[in-house]
Amino acid sequence: MMSVDGLMEGEFFMNGDDACAEGAIAAGCRFFAGYPITPATEVAERMSRRLPEVGGVYIQMEDEIASMNAILGASWAGVKSMTSTSGPGFSLMMENLGLGIMLETPCVLVNIQRAGPSTGIPTLIGQGDMMQARWGSHGHYEIIAVVPDSPQEMFDLTITAFNLSEQFRIPVLIMSDEVVGHMSEKVVMRQVAPEDLVTRPRPAVPPEEYSPYLSGDDLVPPMAVAGEGYRFHVTGLTHDERGYPVMTAEAQDKLVRRLVDKIRLNKKHILRMEEVGLDDAEIVVCAYGITSRVAKRAVQLARQEGIRAGLLRLIVVWPFPEERVRELAAQAGAFIVPEINYGQIVLEVERCAAGRARSILLPHMGGGVHHPETILEAIREAAV
């Protein structure tokens, strides 16, 4: 069903890419710039059809570099904006993801991960961009990345992603994958109540008193947008609270600390995870995205065999839930980390476990997903 204002409501059978687009529209996204790429094209296609219906703008840019910049520009005009891509396109977006972080620009970037490196297998799954999501742009920063495990979560977490991006003035990454993007399942769509939609903090002072990067205790500065008379200046150069460039180590220290700390110190408002059977777990399977669904089955089977296994599903993967993994390391004997790469998130698990529990990688090079039996076997081995 379509409501009068063009939002969809009810139950639908829909793939993850389409659900992501609908989540964006429900979140208030009204600008999309993108470039076709498998397996993310369906997000752009749906946005091109839906945005004009709700009074938004779709533009297909000349490449992913341009797409990323266009959504930053749109956000600075006060419109919630998004792009979607995969593999090579994600690499091209890294440069201006950094600009988004530096200018503190709310926006959402969807990566429907495919198998790499390079062109890899465009039509089949990978989870090889997890560390690129964390560190892919140059310089030191913190980022927020969510990982949906189903078309339903493609809808729900896209709304979450917009909310987090507005709240913390940061580009938020949706690190989905080809299988979740292309699988069709039931998706329940709802209109989001206005009070559940976060909008960026706005200046409470007149233009003469406004400093674009002066923040309060939450370290998130209020954001004016173009055309309102604030006549602000913002720059990708290291800058002071007025937004003016300052080329000193002191200014760099102050700025980078705040950019990082606004995420680190607000972690409790950002982290999201699902826990299954962790209360007494001796073996913790830590998984995300499509892999977590396979892992969930393996954990069920292990429980049936009497093995005290549990699942820690990362919903927000960046910032990493360090404290929770540390706690679990004190309780469990081993972490098993299945992922569709040759070891990325396992490095974080290992770092946080710090030798108190074993960290066992179950890699898959991409092009398919793990078999539950593979994970079950690893659980059995770890249990003896």
Binding site: N69, A77, A224
Partner: protein, 279 residues
């Protein structure tokens, strides 16, 4: 009462960030004078400065955004145009200006330049062309004339340059001109025309860069470069921009080359996206 005049008497000061002066440009550089023409052009148009947004990339002229007192964005190298595209489409009430250099706009940002012109996005692009990369110390760029010296063409440039007015005109720009900083009145007027015309409008501003291009090519001080422009420039309004190539020596054609009307990207959006809303 000459002695009592203060800086605040200059009407264009309103448009500049006085708290950021002095600027970073070298003495004898042409970027400053081109900014002076630009702010006078804004003044001339009477545009609401609250609704002007200026976007720059990286380089000497990439710093312009930081000195003009409107909403201003100093972005990444080559990316001012796509950033500006997002601004312009998300709020069509804005007058969006990109002010940047030839290397930024035509080399690393060349793909964005041609596509914005093709789309006829409502945007004015002012390209300060100093024939080299000034900020990084004088390397060859996409406009460096054949045979010209630069720190990366020490034997002379073997890399044929773009003729920028021809490039953007061929891609569909609605307005295309080229002036130098020794044509301040024509330049200001042309900038004002570009600012008030719908669609993609492009003003190439040639100017001296005594510190790098001038030094490498033994052109003397900034004022000597200006004199050379005076000698070489031929005002040729309406000339086919394909004939406006710039060599190391010889005449330089300047003038207003293209001024035509074709529907803008936004015109198409309103018409075609409107169909979705009528459904």
């Amino acid at each position: 009462m000459i002695g009592t005049k203060t800086l605040t008497d200059n009407p264009v000061d309103l448009y500049l960030r006085a708290d950021r002066m002095p600027h970073i440009w070298c003495s004898g550089c042409g970027v400053g004078p081109s900014v002076a023409c630009f702010v006078k052009a804004i003044h001339r148009t009477g545009l609401d400065t609250d609704k002007i947004a200026i976007v720059s990339g990286i380089g000497c002229s990439g710093r312009v955004a930081g000195y003009v007192k409107v909403d201003s964005f100093h972005t990444t190298h080559g990316r001012a145009i796509p950033f500006a595209t997002g601004l312009a489409l998300a709020n069509p009430e804005l007058k969006v200006v990109v002010f940047s250099g030839d290397g930024d706009l035509a080399a690393i940002g060349g793909n964005h330049l041609i596509h914005a012109a093709r789309r006829n996005i409502d945007m004015t692009v002012i390209c300060y062309n100093n024939f080299n990369y000034g900020m990084t110390g004088g390397q060859l760029g996409p406009t460096t004339p054949l045979e010209a010296k630069s720190t990366t063409s020490p034997y002379g440039n073997c890399d044929p340059p773009f003729n920028l007015p021809h490039l953007v005109a061929a891609c569909g720009a609605s307005y295309v001109s080229r002036w130098t900083v020794i044509h301040p009145r024509q330049l200001e007027k042309s900038m004002a025309e570009a600012l008030t015309k719908p669609g993609f409008t492009f003003v190439e501003v040639l100017g001296p860069c005594p510190t790098t291009y001038g030094r490498m090519n033994k052109l003397g001080r900034g004022v000597d470069e200006l004199r050379a422009y005076q000698e070489r420039c031929v005002v040729s309004n309406g000339v086919d921009p394909r004939d406006a190539e710039i060599g190391l020596n010889g005449p330089i054609l300047v003038g207003n080359f293209v001024d035509l009307s074709r529907p803008t990207f936004w015109d198409h959006c309103v018409k075609i996206f409107g169909r979705a809303q009528k459904k």
